[in-house]
């Protein structure tokens, strides 16, 4: 009996393994290289639970590993926050792994230091090039040279997630399209002891990535940021951008729309207010959406069914792009130039980068999560997904206008100062003009 149980168990495990690999087929190209290839990324097993991009990344890397048993992948996988610190330290020591993930804002500095391989010609020769969404390469391109394959999924960084039932009770059929209406609604919610919109800026980056990046586009339009990236005259001190900062300060400091502790809690804390029914809406990124949807689906089916998505409401004095939201790929697979000395090893690294961002990845995330990556995966059959996934797909890729994610560009020294000052401004310690002046000074000194 025991032997039979063991046999059945082994059979089940074997089938599970086969099905796992069969789910994603990478191109098993012949590679001459035999040896180790070091890879560093942040798609941890915890991160991959409910996060389509991370799950797809882990699945494809496992499939590539299985397809190339002669190459030993030496994976270093750490959480995103730690990854940023560690990869910066390794870059400083000129000791980067063979293959790693490059953040858009580091492209210029690291390419100047010779830390990333110029992949311009290699990408152009990729077998999947025709299916690439070439707009995603922009953050990783400087002076006409491209330094990475954009990776993971193209998700929004600014989505308003709201509880349709709560807003219906407040007298709104959908989330308001102007901040005036939200402010009016906050009188109702505050009287109920409910936060109107939950937000967390404890990590300092959230206000930039999840709010100002989109709100700024409503004031300046995309040309201003394009000019800022290209150093063609735009400045943080430009009137339109300062107006965006003033409006941000007004919304967070002078109204009672947001939780008063927004500057000390993280987005992870703030989204719990929404999940627990303590907040009627939440502003965050696609990673928050996947967490909220996955949590509520198991814990509270009724609240899950009431999830609605909206763009940031339009400020009264903003004149541009009222349905815009910032979306893009913040990281790219980059290759250490040191391995270019070994042509076979370089070929293996390129093959890995192409597969991690190619059709195997895109098909997996499209079929399992209705998400998109660098390579087009053809028409996504939405009918097999639940309503919330379908709604979020349409909201992300069909119904809204897109704009850039600020901190995918320029560099970390500028955004570090800006994010810190932004938090200080919302704590009442700085004016919008001071924030703009300091950011401009950091921009001129470091970019």
């Amino acid at each position: 009996m025991k032997k039979l149980a063991c046999f059945l168990l082994c059979l089940v495990m074997l089938c599970t393994c086969i099905s796992a690999f069969a789910a994603t087929d990478v191109a098993a190209n012949d590679l001459a290289y035999k040896g180790t290839l070091s890879v560093m990324h942040f798609s941890t097993s915890e991160e991959s639970e409910g996060n389509g991009g991370s799950d797809g990344f882990r699945t494809v890397i496992a499939a590539w590993n299985a397809a190339h048993p002669e190459i030993e992948l030496n994976e270093n996988v750490i959480a995103n926050a730690e990854y940023k610190t560690k990869i910066a330290a390794l870059a400083a020591a000129n000791d980067l792994p063979d293959v790693f993930l490059l953040q858009g804002m580091n492209t210029i500095a690291w390419s100047e230091q010779g830390l990333v391989l110029d992949l311009t010609d290699i990408i152009a020769q990729s077998p999947y090039y025709a299916d690439y969404n070439t707009a995603y390469f922009t953050p990783f391109t400087t002076q006409g040279k491209t330094y990475g394959y954009p990776v993971l999924t193209g998700g929004t960084c600014t989505v308003v997630i709201y509880d349709k039932a709560m807003w219906k009770e407040a007298g709104y059929d959908a989330f308001p399209t102007t901040w005036e209406e939200v402010e009016k609604a906050s009188e109702y919610f505050n009287a109920q002891g409910i936060v109107t919109v939950a937000f967390g800026n404890g990590g300092q980056w959230q206000m930039n990535s999840d709010f100002v990046s989109t709100l700024g586009n409503r004031y300046t339009g995309p040309e201003w940021f394009a000019s800022l990236i290209a150093k063609e005259g735009a400045a943080f001190t430009d009137e339109a951008f300062v107006a965006c900062l003033k409006e941000t300060k007004r919304l967070f400091c002078d109204t009672k729309i947001f939780n008063s502790n927004f500057n000390t809690v993280t987005n992870e804390d703030a989204r719990e207010y929404y999940i627990a029914g303590q907040a009627a809406a939440f502003i965050g990124g696609n990673w928050d959406e996947s967490y909220i949807a996955a949590t509520l689906k198991d814990a509270d089916a009724e609240k899950w069914a009431n999830i609605g998505f909206a763009v940031l409401p339009q400020p009264a004095d903003a004149t541009k792009a009222p349905t815009s939201q910032n979306i893009g790929l913040g990281y790219a697979v980059a290759i250490n130039p040191k391995i270019a000395e070994d042509a076979d090893k370089l070929a293996a690294a390129i093959d890995l980068a192409q597969e991690l961002t190619g059709p195997a990845f895109s098909s997996y995330v499209a079929e399992n999560y209705a998400l998109g990556g660098l390579t087009a995966a053809g028409e996504v059959d939405l009918s097999k997904f639940d309503q919330i996934t379908q709604d979020f797909y349409n909201w992300s890729y069909v119904d809204t206008e897109t704009c850039e994610i600020y901190d995918s560009y320029i560099n970390s020294a500028v955004w570090g100062v800006f994010n810190q000052d932004l938090q200080a401004m919302l704590n009442g310690d700085k004016t919008a003009e001071e924030v703009a002046q300091n950011a401009q000074a950091a921009y001129e000194a470091n970019y």
């Binding site: 610190t85 910066a88 330290a89 870059a91 400083a92 000129n94 580091n106 500095a109 690291w110 100047e112 230091q113 010779g114 830390l115 505050n190 002891g193 936060v195 404890g202 990590g203 300092q204 939780n259 008063s260 502790n261 500057n263 000390t264 809690v265 804390d269 303590q278 560099n411 970390s412 020294a413 570090g416 100062v417 810190q420 000052d421 938090q423 200080a424 401004m425 919302l426 704590n427 310690d429 700085k430 470091n446």
Partner: protein, 299 residues
């Protein structure tokens, strides 16, 4: 007699060789490298440009750095009073003849020192949450009213430095208690007995007998306390990351941000050198002050 069991110089050098080697490579060598890097513009990677004293000139004009320095001084003052002062009072109580189960007091007092700073930061973050333990208790006591949205936000107000200091005080009281316990154990009990016969009360015994007799231990505690708080980092990193804005920024946190967040390793090294120099100055200054003020007492 001592000379007969004392190892010869060669043996002593052999024993010292390994720890000295470890010290040189983990402390002295990195410090020397930091001094060298502090004269370069180095944004990470292999390329560095010598820029002389430019980083030091920038440091003197850097308002955030000096704000962080004063935050460290604030931490030092709060922790000297909170950690050492409270530890001394608690030791006096625990050493009293009226106190039972002294070993338990010692163990539980020391317990927070054994918890990692990251865990302590997270625990206190939960305590400080707007709908967290502290506000809930204050609400139950009737000291704050209304719903949680209007309750105090301890890490977001002007009191953020005090809020981040309290966990540090709580964590290290036990550490200084243990040091003071051992120092007091070395005082001859007959001195206290004679003082009691002469009618000295507990306060007089603590101030007139115990404090002067453990002065050297107090100086060691003072040095440890200042050194520890001049390089404070982990609790603050977990609790506020120096925020909101720079409201709880300390020097080590600023150096870390400059080096790794902003990838400005040259200036980050300058900040590290400044932390070292300023810490030595504060420790030296405080020891000089203590010796000067207690000179008359000893005499």
């Amino acid at each position: 007699m001592l000379n007969s069991i004392r190892p010869n110089k060669r043996t002593i050098l052999l024993y010292l060789f390994v720890p000295v080697l470890i010290f040189v490579f983990t402390v002295f060598y990195p410090l020397c490298r930091a001094v060298i890097y502090s004269f370069f513009e180095w944004k990470g990677g292999p390329n560095m440009t010598f820029n002389g004293l430019a980083n030091y000139r920038m440091l003197f004009a850097d308002k955030v750095f000096w704000q962080a320095f004063w935050h460290n001084i604030y931490l030092v003052v709060v922790c000297i009073i909170g950690q050492m002062g409270l530890a001394f009072i608690l030791v006096m109580f625990a050493n009293s003849r009226l106190t039972h189960a002294k070993a338990i007091h010692r163990t539980f007092g020391f317990f927070p020192s054994t918890i990692s700073a990251v865990c302590i930061g997270m625990i206190w973050n939960i305590i400080y949450l707007q709908d967290g333990l502290l506000n809930t208790v204050l609400n139950r006591l009737g000291l704050i009213t209304g719903n949680w949205m209007s309750w105090p936000n301890w890490l977001g107000t002007g009191n953020v430095m005090l809020a981040v200091s309290i966990p540090l005080v709580w964590q290290y009281i036990g550490y200084y208690m243990v040091i003071m316990f051992s120092a007091i154990a070395g005082i001859d009990s007959e001195i206290f007995e004679s003082a009691e016969i002469d009618g000295a009360n507990g306060f007089q015994k603590a101030v007139k007998i115990t404090l002067p007799l453990i002065k050297n231990t107090i100086l060691v505690c003072l040095t440890l306390c200042i050194a520890g708080n001049m390089k404070a980092f982990d609790n603050i990193y977990v609790m506020t990351q120096g925020g909101p804005g720079t409201a709880s920024m300390v020097m080590a946190m600023y150096g870390y941000n400059t080096s790794f967040r902003d990838s400005n390793l040259g200036y980050g090294s300058t900040i590290s050198v400044a932390i070292f120099v300023l810490s030595l100055a504060v420790i030296g200054g405080s020891q000089w002050l203590v010796k000067r003020t207690t000179k008359g007492v000893e005499a």
